[in-house]
């Protein structure tokens, strides 16, 4: 197993030399004290993550692990190229499937995966979003299994969340452990809101004739990511709006203000397609802004991300992303996929069913670490039950090998110990592509656990990219 700090052996890897010295010099008690300070800061500013319907404190704190995860400059250069490449290909795919569908005609991606996908939005066919950008924030979940082995686990093209933790974790580290930053060789991440704002400004709709007015559309305070929504709106200096604050008139989108209606040009929406516009998407819904989609299609307002972007990020379409990179960009993929077996294929399903005790099986449309089977950690009864589910709905499942995710030194009960981590960078796509050097590292705090989701005992860490 690869450890971020010690690699495959006991030597401290170069990027971690400062961290190793700091752990040594601080001692476990000081680390624990700093962790408590950090948690107090998070709780105080109200950075909580809402988990409803599970009992307990509805506003939970995501555990913060004090020990940063570090990328060397060279590692980041490679990751960056891979991330940009992937984000471009995913957008090209979206542009293609809502226009001529070349990749489907070429027989590279099966039509079924697109046209029978619940996230495919027929109303988007033929629509040209400004800059031909569909997914403006692409979150790519990356895991590491060796010194040179980075693999993509999943893409998030709709409205990936968690970037506020990237920003707050750094802020918190700088407050509690300022001595770590004295050398000045850690790339800052605090430009993210500015970069996001520029990205959104670049995709202003044709009807916008002045400085674009941008707003962040949130479902409201009861959404689990509400803190992030308000945090980003605040840092970008834009209004945080709920659907009831908006209306459409004469093909333009307006927000209700104390001085009457004000035009909105770009909506960074953190709300699902289904709740955007009851007229176009879900007639039985009371939520959303009636007429919003028509205004979007007519170029009166830009929606970021575009409706229907989810067709590029489900777990079965994922299998074809390396092909998309070759097809649209004529390049070889820099970041590899994790080998994936599709239960919709007879042969692959047979393979999966025979090896349930070794594989990880996931729901194609699932998220948040729910509804998955981790073979090596499962009981015979769980495997029998899962096999039945797969047979009943083969198209609903994919399987992957159980990866030995890299571990990173973390503060555990008995002291500093390795815990498995993943990594989510946030790539911004407007007229240009922007990528802040950093991202969110999630850590599975339970010993041996491979599930990093915050809803299942995962925590977060500050993530450093070292300057050249």
């Amino acid at each position: 197993m690869f450890d971020e700090m010690t690699g495959d052996g006991a030597e401290v890897r170069a990027p971690y030399s400062d961290i190793a010295a700091w752990i040594e010099a601080s001692g476990i008690d000081a680390l624990r004290r700093h962790t408590a300070e950090a948690e107090a800061i998070f709780r105080r500013i109200g950075i909580t993550f809402a988990v409803y319907d599970e009992g307990g404190d509805p506003e939970r704190l995501i555990p913060f692990d004090l020990i940063p995860r570090v990328f060397a400059a060279a590692e980041w250069r490679r990751l960056e190229r891979g991330i940009r490449q992937r984000a471009l290909a995913l957008n090209a795919f979206l542009q293609d499937v809502y226009h001529r569908g070349e990749i489907l005609r070429a027989g590279i991606v099966p039509e079924r995966l697109v046209y029978r996908n619940a996230a495919f939005e027929p109303a988007m066919i033929g629509v040209d979003p400004p800059g031909r950008v569909y997914s403006h924030v692409v979150g790519i979940d990356i895991v590491r299994t060796g010194e040179q082995e980075f693999q993509v686990l999943e893409d998030n093209c709709r409205t990936p969340s968690g970037v506020s933790y990237m920003l707050e974790n750094r802020e918190c580290m700088m407050r509690t452990c300022p001595e770590l930053f004295r050398g000045g060789d850690i790339e800052p991440v605090d430009v993210y809101p500015e970069e996001l704002r520029r990205t959104l400004e670049e995709v202003a709709p044709p009807a916008c004739d002045g400085d674009p007015v941008i707003a962040l559309l949130t479902p409201g305070p009861f959404n689990s990511a509400y803190y992030e929504h308000s945090f980003l709106a605040d840092l970008m200096g834009i209004e945080l709006v709920e659907p009831q604050d908006l209306f459409v008139d004469e093909g333009l989108c307006w927000m209700r203000t104390t001085q009457g209606p004000e035009r909105v040009d770009v909506l960074y929406r953190r709300i699902d397609d289904a709740f955007l516009d009851p007229i176009s998407f879900r007639p039985d819904s009371m939520l959303g802004v009636p007429g919003l989609f028509d205004a979007y299609r007519a170029g009166g307002v830009t929606l970021c991300s575009a409706p229907g972007s989810g067709v590029a990020d489900d777990k079965e379409v994922y299998v074809y992303v390396p092909e998309m990179i070759r097809f649209y960009l004529g390049q070889e993929p820099i970041l590899q996929n994790v080998p994936t077996w599709r239960c919709s294929h007879d042969e692959e399903r047979t393979y999966v069913l025979e090896r349930l005790d070794e594989l990880v099986v996931k729901e194609v449309h699932g998220s948040g670490g729910y509804g998955m089977l981790i073979g090596p950690h499962s009981t015979a009864a769980e495997r029998t039950a899962f096999a039945e589910k797969i047979r009943r709905d083969p198209e609903g499942y994919i399987a992957q090998p159980t990866l030995e995710l890299s571990s990173s030194p973390s503060l555990a009960e008995g002291g500093v110990a390795g815990r498995h981590v993943d990594f989510r960078p946030y790539c911004l796509i407007g007229r240009t592509i922007r990528l802040v050097p950093g991202g969110l590292t999630r850590v599975a705090l339970r010993e041996g656990s491979l599930v990093v989701n915050s809803s299942q005992g995962g925590g977060v860490k500050d993530t450093w990219v070292l300057a050249e």
Binding site: R43, G46, S230, E239, L240, D245, T257, T258, Q259
Partner: protein, 309 residues
């Protein structure tokens, strides 16, 4: 600014003002119940009535310190309770996080978290300390707003809510106790009546201020004058209307538009300036108070219409 933001700021200020006023009311009840010859239940009933929570108690229910504290401090199901007010204030604050400064949010969030963990037993054991803490939370929030908030439209909506609610609380306090202020009772002046008037001042934390202005003349007319017409006393009706007029005036200048609520508040301020306390007593204090409460409700409605919320 979004209308919803204005609405949330307005109501957040109202709920916090109400929470603080309720804490002071309970403190008043506590003092009155300790007076020699206190009726106990009657005093606590007036507290409940002034807090606008009369509906929480039936006419046969026992209304003592324990019951009132349970209902007015911690009971989430009583919308007038301090905890419910903090919940509502925080919900409004959460909905407009970006409109608050970090100091304001943290002050409010800290208070809400503390109040959420307070147990009935703690309140019973140490009521004065609990009430002090609630008042200091409110003071902390107001102080944070004073020193950190931009003096823009957000501040104006926040002030408008605070002044309107404070005016409401003063009126309700007076209405619940107006019988002790009627001049006839002054004829039977005894120590107990005097204490009961003074208790009104306690409920607005103003005993010393009153003493300073009126040199210890604790007559009903003076006390009523202090609480209604004295434009220097921050809980008086005159002061609150003055503050409301200023906040609405700034909004009118900012947006370059005067509306119904501006005319109404102007008129309210002018009318108070011309009044004498004796006239109010002649016309009936109770009627005057009811009329003023109706005016407050009207102002609140006109304000929300003017700013589209």
């Amino acid at each position: 600014m979004l209308s919803r933001t204005a609405e949330s700021l307005f109501w957040m200020a109202r709920y916090l003002e109400r929470a603080e006023a309720t804490a002071r009311l309970i403190d008043m009840g506590r003092r009155m119940a300790m007076l020699p010859g206190a009726y106990g239940q009657e005093e606590w009933r007036s507290v409940v009535a002034a807090a606008g929570a009369g509906a929480a108690f039936g006419s046969d229910d026992r209304v003592g310190e324990a019951e009132v504290c349970r209902s007015l401090i911690l009971d989430e199901d009583n919308p007038s309770s301090i905890r419910a007010c903090f919940d509502s204030a925080r919900n409004n604050a959460r909905a407009v996080r970006t409109a608050l400064t970090a100091d304001m949010w943290e002050g409010l969030n800290d208070g809400w978290r503390w109040l959420g963990g307070v147990e009935a037993e703690t309140v019973r054991r140490d009521l004065p300390a609990t009430l002090d803490r609630i008042r200091s939370l409110s003071a902390l929030f107001r102080g944070a707003a004073q020193t950190t908030m931009l003096r823009g439209e957000r501040y104006d909506f926040l002030s408008a809510g605070a002044f309107l609610e404070r005016a409401d609380m003063t009126l309700r306090l007076l209405d619940a106790k107006y019988f002790v202020l009627l001049p006839e009772t002054g004829l039977l002046l005894d120590n107990r009546d005097r204490y009961r008037w003074i208790s009104l001042l306690h409920a607005t934390s103003a005993v010393r201020a009153f003493h300073y202005v009126y040199r210890g003349d604790f007559s009903p007319t003076k006390i009523a004058h202090f609480m209604i017409l004295n434009a220097e006393f921050p809980c008086s009706l005159a002061f609150c209307y003055g503050g409301l007029r200023a906040a609405l005036g700034r909004l009118a200048d900012r947006y370059d538009a005067r509306q119904d609520c501006h005319a109404t508040v102007e008129k309210a301020v002018r009318q108070l300036q011309d009044r004498e306390m004796d006239d109010i007593f002649d016309e009936g204090l109770h009627e005057f108070l009811l009329e003023a409460l109706r005016l407050n409700a009207r102002l609140s409605g006109e304000l929300s219409r003017a700013y589209h919320f």
